[in-house]
Assembly symmetry: C2
Homo-oligomer: 188 residues x 2
């Protein structure tokens, strides 16, 4: 296993982990968790965690964003992976910084895509998945403070327009166009 | 230098880079860029890049979020590092996914903290820093599409409330409280 030493690289102003063998700098940056409050009327889709930390506690479908997906794609993927739910995203409810552990959580408001009775089931990281009427949410068994923050945000804005912030423009919804000389020949 | 191989770890569903020597999994996740549209009346603070990519082109003060800071702290830090500007954040203007390179950009609307004539100067990564009246922005020399997207968002919402999303609650503005048993003895 390579040995890393902690020092300030040239031209930088903070310590990084640097490989003692080859000089590779292992930048560590905050990770993004994406998720959604998925609601039907006043009932919220929640997952009982099958994994640590906080196994057995209730959370929203959410998880680490992956490379080469958009925020919205990540939130929809997590809803499928953890709750076997197909969702459509309305807008952003909350953006939370968890500075202690270097994490940012982006939580959307969403609904089930398909009409008819809501379809969901536990994915491999969930022991159980349920739709809780808001007043029956098991607050004492909620996994993380950010879950409460997101649920509070939903209660404050359970419908209507969510306004700002804007996301990607319609011309590049996934952020995949190359940026060489964007100013030239692209008067948009 | 350690050799990494690309394969799917047990219990995962996508390929990761795994050290052939020790089995360490090098998860790669999207990085967060935080920045701000800092305005005085209708003039926008922009920086001419001293570094690649897009050296010599104009951008907003923005950069990679660091561990253990909040989004807002990161945006304020970048405004200081790149433009020697002390800023106060109003709200979130845009959240952009750049799926092609695994990046998320969170851009705030902000103003100069201090009263009186705006104070700014190039930091080490800027060749020049200027306040451009919106109609004088050098669109042909803007560094990245996301800079245009953020400027478009500012033009649409240059003042007034930005509404959702909510950020951290006042009781934990930096996300540093521990989460053990949040439900018990914490009726908030």
């Amino acid at each position: 296993m390579p040995e890393f030493v902690r020092r300030i690289p040239e031209g930088d102003d903070r310590e990084r982990m640097i490989c003692a063998d080859c000089g590779h700098i292992a930048y560590e940056n905050p990770k993004i968790v994406v998720g959604a409050v998925v609601a039907v009327d006043d009932a919220i889709l929640m997952c009982r965690r099958a994994i640590e930390p906080r196994r057995g506690y209730w959370t929203l479908p959410a998880g680490y964003m992956e490379m080469h997906e958009t925020l919205e794609e990540g939130a929809a993927r997590e809803a499928w992976e953890e709750a076997r739910a197909r969702i459509t995203i309305d807008g952003v409810l909350g953006m939370f910084s968890v500075a202690r552990i270097g994490q940012v959580q982006i939580i959307y408001r969403a609904r089930f895509t398909d009409a008819g009775p809501p379809s969901f089931a536990p994915g491999p990281e969930s022991l159980d998945v349920r739709l809780f009427p808001f007043h029956e949410i098991p607050w004492d068994d909620v996994a993380f403070p950010t879950v409460r923050w997101a649920l509070d945000a939903w209660r404050a804005q359970s419908n209507g327009s969510l306004g700002a912030p804007v996301g990607n423009p319609a011309s590049d919804p996934r952020g995949v166009r190359r940026y060489t000389n964007p100013g030239r020949g692209d008067p948009s």
